[in-house]
């Protein structure tokens, strides 16, 4: 389990955090209908790292769109809007993939063009 104070991961049976000494309490059993329960929240990734990587490496504006949705994910989580956060998470993921795919597509088009130009100059 993770320490609630410093976030350090501890053994499941530990009573005190090995990093900061905080008393550890076992995770509460999940409420069946708790829509805002931590288990739901923990499944909402914001894809911020991917968005930054796409922005830096793919040279296309899609990474910036993904950063916007990453910010929305965390904003909605802070406000307790789990469904909204999941929707933004889905879009952040989608735009990260679009940016990544476009980057790969540009790379392939470039390789093909270089290849064709190479052939063209050979023929002349």
């Amino acid at each position: 389990m993770f320490c609630t104070k410093c976030g350090k991961e501890n053994d499941a049976g530990a009573t005190h955090c090995i990093a900061c000494g905080e008393v550890l309490t076992a995770p509460q059993p999940q409420a069946v209908s708790g829509a805002a329960g931590p288990a739901h929240v923990s499944k909402v990734p914001n894809y911020l790292v991917q968005a930054i990587l796409v922005t830096i490496f793919c040279c296309l504006p899609f990474g910036i769109v993904a950063i916007v949705f990453a910010a929305q994910v965390n904003g909605k989580l802070q406000a307790g809007d789990i469904n909204g956060a999941m929707e933004s998470s889905r879009k952040a993921k989608m735009w990260s993939w679009i940016g990544f795919g476009s980057g790969i597509a540009v790379l392939l088009i470039y390789v093909v063009l270089v290849f064709l130009i190479g052939i063209g100059s050979q023929l002349q």
Binding site: K5, G7, E9, V41, L48, V49, T55, C58, L60
Partner: protein
């Protein structure tokens, strides 16, 4: 610098229950074994680093140009990343800063999430999760947009931001 700012903003947030509820390294292929994914990612990154080390983006011609730069002749926020990484791999931090300041400053963050993901994946543990407050991400977005504009200004202090 940017990273320490980052951590200092994160630290007070750690008491919040929501702190561990967001993944810094979300999984893209949930059905695939995390161990295999971590190893694959490690191999790919090492291969890319090796390629970048030996083939300079300046003269080898194997890397594609930035599509934004090719279309508009302007610099995008990512322009200079490959050349900057090549310089970094050869230990020329100053040159790398001159090519893409934002890339160098974001490397600690990306490096942290990368190491975090790889180490946790290979040890078979869940990746450590950090919740980043949304205003920090909005600020990051602002920095990226500002960087994009400023590095295209042909005026004295800003010309250093261009690659």
């Amino acid at each position: 610098m940017w990273f320490s700012f980052f951590l200092s903003v994160l630290a007070p947030n750690c008491n919040n229950r929501i702190m561990r509820t967001d993944q810094i390294s979300p999984d893209f292929f949930p059905s695939v074994n995390r161990w295999a994914k971590s190893l694959t990612l490690l191999v790919v990154v090492c291969g890319a680093a090796g390629t970048l080390y030996f083939l300079s983006p300046n003269d080898s011609g194997v890397y594609p140009p930035c599509p934004f730069n090719a279309l508009t002749d302007l610099h995008c926020p990512g322009c200079g990343t490959l050349r900057g990484l090549h310089e970094l791999l050869h230990g020329h931090i100053g040159n790398a800063l001159g090519l893409n300041l934002l890339m160098v400053l974001s490397l600690p963050f990306i490096g942290y999430s990368f190491v975090n993901y790889i180490v946790a994946g290979i040890r078979g543990r869940p990746a450590r999760k950090i919740f980043i407050r949304s205003w920090i991400i909005w600020a990051l977005l602002g920095i990226v947009m500002l960087f994009w504009i400023l590095r295209n200004l042909p005026v004295y202090p800003f010309v250093f931001l261009a690659p």
